[in-house]
Every structure is written in C-alpha cells, then in structure tokens.
Symmetry: C2
C-alpha cells in the first residue's frame, strides 16, 4: 500500500502545538482533547482507568457530590523546558494530599502510583496543549467525587476519579504585586472542619467575599482564623509568608489551612538560602509589621504582596 | 376505530400505583419516571424549564459544583390523604430558603412561583410513585448548582435547577426513639459559614462523625456550636427541641443552624397548644436537664429522642 501520510498538509508547529494564542492565555477553562476517568464501587478500590476524549460526564442527579458536596480537587502543572522536556512538579505530593482528603470525606482514593500515572497520561494525551517554554503551563485538575446516587444515609455506591487539563497563563493579573484585603467577617475554615484538605466545600462558601473584594479593586482576600479572628491563615487559594530580617514565617499546619505543595518547597528553599523559617501562629500585627509578604500556590506561583488593607487601613 | 384500550390487561392499582413493595420502603434513592430541569446562563434569570424522563445529567468535568462545591438542595414531601388528595407541605418555604442559599453561594435562583410550579409538575409526573396513605410519602429533591465550567475566577457561565422525587418510608428506623450522640469534636457550622442555608457543603464534611456514631450504635449526632462548644445546635439533618414544664425551647436562628420548615411549624403549633416557646441559646446542660427532647425535619418528621450520650455518659 502506498504511504499516503506525507500527502497530508502537516507543518511541524501543527503537530507540536495546538492552535492557541499563547500570549493571550489567561487562567480559565480551556477545552483540551483528552481526560482520564476511573470509577470505583463502594467497598472496592480504584482500578486503572482510561484516557477518553474530553466530554461532559454522565452523572446521577442524586449523586453524593451534587447533593452533599462529597468531592475533592487537586491542581498541579506540567511545563516545557527550553530543552523541550516536559516537567511535572512533585505530583506525588498532590496524590498524598488527595488521600488525606479522601479519608476526611469518607471516600476511597487512587494509590499514589495510580494518581501519578493518570496525571502523566493526561499530560501526554494533551501534549500539544502545553504552552511553549515561558508562555504558560498546562494546569492539571484531578477530581475525586461521590458519583453514585444517595438519599439519606451512607454508603455512596460509586466514586469517580478523573483528571483533565487546561493550558493557563498567569493566575493573578497584578504585575506590581497583589493588593490584599484582610477579611474581617467571613472565615474560610474552622477547627475540625475541612480547611486542611482540598475539599470542594471550602471554596464556593467564600466566593461571596472574594467577589466583593474584587469589586472593590483588591486582588485577593486573606483569611483570619475562625477561632480567634486574630491570626492570619491563607488567601483564597494560596499560602502566605512574611519576611522580617533573617526570619521567614508562615502559619503552621493545624487543620484549618491547606498544606500547600508550593509552601513546602518554599520552606525548604528558603532554609537552603540561609533564612530561619518559622511555622507558627502569625498574628495580623506580625503581618502588618513585616518587611515583605508573599503568597505561594500552584496557580499563584510565588507572588509578592504589594499592599494589605485591614478594616479600612492600608 | 375500535377502542382497544380495554383489551390491555390493566388493573386499577397498576394505573394508580407503581410496582413498589410499599411496606418495605426505607429512606433511600428510588428511581422514578420524570424530573424537572431548567437552566440559566450567567447574567440571565431562570425561565420555565421542562419535565423530562429521569436520567443522568450531562455535566462539565470543570463545573462549579464538581470543583468548588457550588450547590444547594431542598427537601419536601408530597403525600396522599385518605380522601385521595395529594398534599404538599408549605413548598413556598423551601423556595424562600433556596433563595437565601443562592444569595449566599452567588447563584441565580428560580422565583417562588417557578419553584412551586416545578415541584407540582414533578409530583404529577410521578403520581403513581406517591405511596398509599399512611405507607410513606414522595420525597421531592430540588437542587440548584453551578453547572458551567469554571477554573480560577468567577463568573460561573451556567446554572441548573432540577427537581426529582423518590418514594420514601421512615428516615430513622428506631421505633422507640432516637439514641443521640452529642458530638464533642466535629462541628457542623461556624459563624459566617453556610450553616444557615441548605448548602451541599454542610453535609459530606460531617459524614465522618455520623458514620462513626452509627457504627457505635447511635441513631444520629447532635452538634454543638463551633464558637464555644457549649451550646446545642442541631442534628445531622433535623432541628432539636427540648421541653421542660410548660416551656418548649429550641436553638435560635443565628446563621449556624438551618431554619427548618418543620421547626417553624412546630413552633407555631406548640404555641397554639398553649406552650411557651423560646428560641434562644440552649446550653448542653439544659438539654440534659429536659423532660422531653425531640427533633423535627421533613425527612425525620417529629421524632422523640430516647437517650442522649455526652462524653461517655448516657
Ligand atoms: C486554600 C488553598 N491554599 C493554598 C493553596 C496552595 O497549595 P499548592 O501550593 O499545593 O498549590 C491552594 C491551592 O492550590 C489552596 O486552594
Ligand atoms: C441541617 C438540617 N437541619 C434541619 C433540617 C430540617 O429542616 P426541614 O424541617 O425544613 O426539613 C434539615 C433538613 O431538611 C437539615 O438538613
């Protein structure tokens, strides 16, 4: 049979990259080609799932996630190096965090190997959506949720683990650093709650204050602890660090803030750079008194805080 | 044309009732024939939806509800009277509660008329699933959620309002009254949170303690307030009342407990019966000291509490 492939009009860039205006890339939903889906029945464990074309799910109207909020998400990034390699940043850390969240929300979970393998498969199946070096990253979104119908009482008959990906640019648009509002009324998490895991239930409840802050011109909100309202916890989706002299401080992990993967790396890095790092209770005063403040997160990367506003005072 | 209908073997009960073993009915998911679906784009308002055959939804993997928990649910019941009429219990109250929840979670919402009309349409479209008088009720489950894809920042492009229904029997199986565990560690809600609305985010986070209590032989858990851990709030999905002499007391509505529709009616009824009703802070001591304790809810109806266990003491 005559080889006909070369008759197709394919340029190198068509093969390597999807048709995206990389320079205009923001941080939002962008449909890509493929996703990974695995399902698991109650009492069983997750088996290897498969890569399928990106499409809407079929989900029971009476599913645990739609009715009782049983869901977790993760977020990590793949990027291209100048040498053309594709890199992932510590995906096992996200797998472990998903596992601790699954315990908290009474769900089975994929093993670390399954998780990492699913992430890699999604990256490879959407390779042409990974932005060119320096132009952005492929944001990978694993989600785990109760997909089976449940009314009244446990158990949930079925769970779904899926991974999809979107090319993204910058998360925060403020080049000169973020202008934060210290949220004085709404709390994000409380002791014994789900603040320490990436439960979907932590996010929409605080959209109301994020939306208000954005309408007032702020970049993001900084939450205080629910127990006393005196100590700094974290931003909407990133951890916070303060610098004073040779000491870098960040709120300790005590169940109400998310143990960020970026946070952990920054702690290690700043220690290596010779700073003293303190994970401790951080009163608002210490923040206002700091020489430098920055936030860390997969989406937010490491971003400087330009200003902080607390009860009308900037 | 010859009328052929009478040649079909149809008994009266086949027409009037679905093929359900009513006496075995518990409280769980039961697939019925039809559901109601309405959608609404960001910036628009809900238009009249339609009755469709009960089926799984198509939902974006990147939807607001799956990733950030943006969802509310409601629960109400239709029942048959001995005279063969079909009754709904104050559906406008559920519509109003959905509305306040929608404000809290930044969603558009159906009007009270749309809500009530949707509920009625679902009841009529599933009429044969309404149990015979005294054998149970048709539990109606409206849900409202962010169905459009969102990554990072608002707005959510699309919302879905849907209503389905399941025939149900008793919610609690304990005929002699409930055995409650006063939950000493996990809190359900906190000030500024979503405890005052029927957000899906309030439920799966406390399954962990409900499951533990059930495994220990309890019927349900009674939550204490997050701020002090000293006052009684409510059960997993019902409100609590205590009786002492001529006084009936129940925790006041202050943002952390759900304003139950049954609660409201019971307050009105007990007042009519000549009791003094106090909506106030109810310390655990007052509960342990009460002559009678009961809980109220659409699912739970009005159920006596037989025992209360607090820190190992029954
Ligand atoms: C609430 C919250 N805090 C912190 C972070 C930062 O964590 P990571 O560095 O793992 O992205 C995130 C997000 O990802 C988050 O949602
Ligand atoms: C947390 C909670 N409290 C109380 C209730 C009782 O409310 P209603 O009487 O409207 O059913 C419910 C449930 O429906 C509930 O979920």
């Amino acid at each position: 049979m005559a080889p006909s492939a070369q008759t197709l009009p394919t340029s190198v860039s068509d093969e390597k990259y999807a048709n995206v205006k990389w320079e205009e890339l923001g941080f939002g939903f962008y449909r890509t080609d493929n996703m990974y889906v695995a399902k698991c029945k109650h009492g069983e464990s997750f088996q290897e799932g498969s890569i399928v074309p990106y499409a809407n799910f079929q989900i029971s109207p009476c599913s645990a996630v739609l009715n009782y909020g049983q869901g977790l998400y993760e977020g990590l990034k793949a990027y291209r190096t100048e040498e053309g390699r594709i890199m992932l940043f510590r995906p096992d850390q996200n797998a472990l965090r998903l596992k601790s969240g699954a315990h908290r929300l009474c769900m089975p979970y994929p093993s670390v190997d399954q998780f990492v393998s699913a992430v890699k498969q999604v990256v490879l199946a959407n390779k042409k959506w990974i932005p060119p070096p320096g132009r952005g990253t492929l944001y990978i979104r694993p989600i785990l949720f109760g997909s089976g119908p449940i009314l009244g009482s446990l158990p949930v008959p079925e769970y779904t683990f899926t991974v999809f990906a979107c090319p993204v640019g910058r998360f925060h648009q403020d080049n000169a650093g973020l202008n934060l509002k210290i949220e004085d009324k709404f709390r994000r998490a409380f002791p014994s709650g789900t603040g320490g895991v990436k439960s979907i239930t932590n996010y929409s409840p605080v959209w109301i204050t994020l939306a208000e802050a954005k309408a007032q011109g702020f970049s993001d909100v900084l939450f205080l602890d629910a127990a006393t309202g005196k100590n700094v916890e974290e931003l909407f989706a990133s951890n916070v660090f303060i610098v004073k002299g040779n000491v870098v401080s960040t709120p300790e992990i005590s169940g109400t803030i998310l143990p960020g993967v970026t946070r952990k790396s920054i702690i290690e890095l700043t220690r290596d750079f010779g700073y003293k790092v303190e994970e401790r209770v951080v009163p608002v005063e210490d923040l206002l008194d700091a020489e430098e403040v920055f936030c860390t997160g997969t989406a937010a990367i490491v971003t400087t805080i330009a200003s902080v506003t607390f009860k009308e005072t900037k």
